[in-house]
Amino acid sequence: MSAAVLDYSVAAILWVAIVVYAVLAGADFGGGVWDLFARGPRAQQQRAAVSRAMGPVWEANHVWLIFLITGLFTAFPAGFKALSLGLFVPFSLVLAGIILRGAAFAFRAHASGGRARQRFGLAFGVGSIITPFLLGACVGAVATGQAIQPAQTTEQLLLPWTTPFSLVCGALALAICAGLAAVYLTVETRSSGLPELAEDFRVRALAAGAATLVLAAVALPLASSTAPALWRGLIGRAAPVTALAAVLAVFAALSMLRRRFRAARAAAAGQVVCILLAWALAQVPQLVPPALTIEGSASPPEVMASLLVTYGVGAAVLLPSLGLLFYVFKGRNPAVL
């Protein structure tokens, strides 16, 4: 295989990891959001539904992020270095969020007494909000080509991820995660025979969907003025995918209105895939725009080849295990899958 094929194959696999992380772990973060904002007469049941859905799977979902990071520094060390330098502050805050969310969720399950549980619950919710928000802002910073400068002054530390575009991307990521979680939970609660809870989450899914649409409507014009390269890609090469994302968003909302939860779930997940695909298409061949390309920052071909072999062997172990996990916890009840 030529070097370019190797480089793009690995990049594609890492992109898939981002997608899976967004679709699965994104919903776990969203679950934290709904835990924090659990309201109404069924607040406790809502929290319980979130815990039931997340408990067995969130650690496995989280590993996709690790997979992405290790893959990035093995395959594209120069890209990893540039991102670490340019996004030092948001990455550090993401870590704080990950610690807060993961530890608090595990601790809460074992805490005695309402007070301790409440405090862990708060930490869980806050961690679940800041992490996807900041990750979204980081994507925004990368897409606008501002993540590339090593941050050395205070201004450089803050700039790339606090532009209006990056902040909107962060909010968008948060809304998408919350929406995914609510949509998944409608399916799971209904199939466990809890129709009132399904209604609660249906309302939340619609609210999150509306927020997503509004934020997307803000993000696109902002992109055209502050991230012209990205914008050109989105309406050029990636136009069909961008359009498909919009169609799926509308379809998800309509299905939700008509209580066709499983259709809504498929459309919502598909929408996330399309958004990330549009971003990737708009940005290729850049890895960290504007200066680092995929080929330009790749490790030598020997490394890329051994990495692909590793991924192949690893997938043979991973996919059946993952299948088992989801079969046992999500698939026993046929309505859930």
């Binding site: 590993v63 060390p77 270095k81 870590l95 990950i98 050395q152 590793t310």
Partner: protein
Amino acid sequence: MGVSLGFHIVFASIGVGLPLLLLIVEGLWLRNRDPDWKLLARRWSKAFGILFAVGAVSGTVLSFELGLLWPGFMGYAGGIIGLPFSMEGFAFFVEAIFVGLYLYGWELLSPLAHWLCTIPLVISGAASAWFVVTANAWMNSPTGFRLDHGRVTDVHPLEAIFNPGTPIETTHVMISAYLVTGFAVAAIYAVGILRRRGGTVYRKGLLVGMLLGSICAPLQVITGDMNARWVADHQPAKLAAMEGQFRTESGAPLRIGGWPNLASRNTDFAIEIPAGLSFLAYGNFNAVVKGLDSFNPGSTPDPRPVHLAFDVMVGIGFLLLGLAAWFFWLLWRRRRVPEWPLLLRATAAAGVLGFVAVEAGWMVTEIGRQPWIIYGVVRTAAAITPAPGLLWSFWISTAIYVALGTTCAALLLRLAGATRSGLAEAPETEP
């Protein structure tokens, strides 16, 4: 990074060791249906749930920190040594998946299927430790690439993984994980028995922990000795620092204790065993041992922490060995689990000392390698991030770890307390 690693390694060691104990006790329960074994498995499974989550988040911090704190290191080494980290990623997947199945599957899976879940847990825990330590061994003996005018070329990732340091370092580390887990578990039940909360569960917990720890203790000392001889051949400056050896001499004595005095270039107050070091390191009483003074200034580590940490590790290694011998001698003589208060107190201390030894051992490896981050290739100073405010992030992360560590400990103590107060199964709300 040092702080994060020092924190993570505690949870990682348990993450490697505890699945093996779960495999044993749940397997015993399946065989003879003695409810004590089931109770142990369920209790440990809860503790494992907490410990695994903390291990996972602290490990995530590490993988980011490699880039955040050491961009120079990763930019350089990522391509060469990233592969074991990527392989480790799959081990994490397997581990996290089967942790989910194990912790939440008590009611959903058949007893046999549930027990079978411990097997991938044992394998993936050991594998993740193995992979990450190959990376550390590579930092000690970098191979698998060529330097061409400062550019890395000719990379052979497999050669980097199987570098000369790998076999011995991975063995020593993996055994240490089982060792500390065994003694930690034994310590918990020793404390329980000391507080007169007897009962068969306690004796069983003590016995299983002691068995695992005691099998590992001699292996740990033996592999440690091999490790030291490897260091003597490959990193003479580290050996000199470990042993407080300032001058090059033949028939060098083994120095136990003492404090390396930088001004007088001598290790004061040490107990010296004549020619002991020459013999241990090279198998010959007259062998020449290089001293720190024979290296260029600025290319040796500070011997004070290294020597101290080394003596702590080795001292604890022999203490644990002695404890294991004592316990099993009594067990053999009396044909029942010994409950002497003195022995139980020593066991309780051993639970903590094991972790102290692990931390000390990593101090030896990491500080002993200085000033290099990749031995002989990249200096630490060249690899650190230029981002300002590092001190801030250091203190903040330390504070976070302290909070996380104390909360975790408090919850675990509560779990231990629950075992004490209600030996019957408490209502299982959530795992």
